[in-house]
């Protein structure tokens, strides 16, 4: 079902009734899994993710590999997408997009966690995606932040993330070019339908200052 964006600039309401800067309903819980060192459950709208954190733990197999500096802890991220999470039932196994998300999340937290306190150790972050409706990377980062705080892993700052996108300029819809007065509107917290149609990116940062990075997504 294509997204009808022709009426955006008129009523300034999106299809789910939100204005450009309104976020979806956010529901968060921590300490949901007693067996894990840290755990959280986060819902942003219909995107629902469980996160568990374990560690810092010793690396199996000694960890004495050549060329590998183990003065800092290694952040290891695994993302599991449930087959029932999307619109069609699909088992995504070893997906490139999932692998990229894992690497992004791992490098983001490596820069804020105090990994120098735990040499030769691994901090494991496991994310389970129960329902997808847009902003997947952002919700993963937020859920991982909560789980890491619950686990008590020391960090210099916590990471929050959100998606932002651009509506197409109203002038291109009629086919004419060079819209001088019609500019695109920014949008915050895109849902699944908006992500499929519009260019967006996930921005993440801390509160103390300094960027920790982000990822872009284009349809």
């Amino acid at each position: 079902m294509p997204l009808d964006t022709s009426t955006y600039h008129l009523s300034l309401l999106r299809l789910d009734g939100r204005r450009w800067n309104e976020l979806r309903r956010l529901h968060a819980q921590i300490s949901t899994q007693a067996s894990a060192d840290g755990s959280s459950y986060l819902e942003m709208g219909n995107t629902k993710i469980i996160c568990t954190v374990s560690g810092p733990a010793e690396i199996r197999g000694g960890g004495r590999r050549e060329g590998v500096e183990r003065d800092n802890a290694v952040v290891n991220v695994e993302v599991g997408v449930a087959g029932f999470s999307g619109m069609d039932r699909k088992r995504r196994r070893g997906d490139k997009r999932t692998t990229e998300m894992q690497n992004t999340i791992a490098s983001a937290f490596t820069s804020t966690l105090f990994t120098h306190l735990y040499p030769h150790s691994t901090i494991s972050i496991n994310l389970h995606i129960l329902s997808q409706d847009g902003s997947l990377l952002a919700v993963c980062l937020n859920a991982a932040t909560l789980a890491l705080i619950d686990a008590g892993v020391p960090m210099k700052d916590y990471i929050v993330a959100c998606t932002s996108g651009l509506t197409p300029p109203a002038s291109t819809l009629g086919g004419s070019r060079g819209g001088n007065s019609e500019t695109s509107d920014p949008l915050l917290d895109l849902n699944g339908m908006e992500e499929q149609e519009l260019p967006f990116l996930t921005g993440a940062g801390g509160t103390v200052g300094g960027d920790v990075g982000g990822g872009g997504g284009w349809v």
């Binding site: 300490s31 007693a34 010793e58 105090f114 705080i149 619950d150 008590g152 892993v153 020391p154 960090m155 210099k156 700052d157 916590y158 801390g206 509160t207 103390v208």
Partner: protein, 216 residues
Amino acid sequence: MSLPDLAYPGLPLGPSSSYIPGPGTHLHLESSTIHASIAGRPTFTPPTAKGSKPTLSIPRLLPSPTHAPIPSSNVSNTNTLPTVGSVVLCRVTRVKSKQVDVVILVVYGAEGKFGRGGEGSVCADEWQAVIRKEDIRATEKEKVVTAEGFRVGDVVRGVVISLGDQSNYYLTTGRNELGVIMAKSEAGNKMYPISWKEFKDPVTGETERRKVAKPF
């Protein structure tokens, strides 16, 4: 400057000119303020030496123990880890010919004058430990029979001699005041000590051999 009730990572707590950063906090170089590293209630401990600054820290708390069958106000959620030299109370789980397996239940601080240390804290988790045959007694070590020193279910006071490996601490009971402090007889009654090697059952009158700790 009053401390907030609940700090989250990254929250500025105080200037580094007034406080020393302790565990759970870190120093933010550019602004020379102390920031929190974990979530928790910040506390400050008074200065150790005259003229030095108080230490600002956030103690790491474990989740409150929910698996305990009876809630106890003594079971805290700060885990005092046993260190070398700390006196511990433990319970015997297995008696083998060369060693005795125990679980550490209570940790006291470092040894005090009478070998017992200060306040004891009940551990939120049990720690596995081992008393080797040669560490049960200080003298005549080769003549020790482990079954004559301990039985399963005895409560033992010991001292940690080594942090050991991934699975076990190592304890010793090789002093007069270390050894079995509480034991049940084979008939099931609580016994009281009568000498360094015997407990007596008051109901049946039977005595049983144990490595008895000297009562203070």
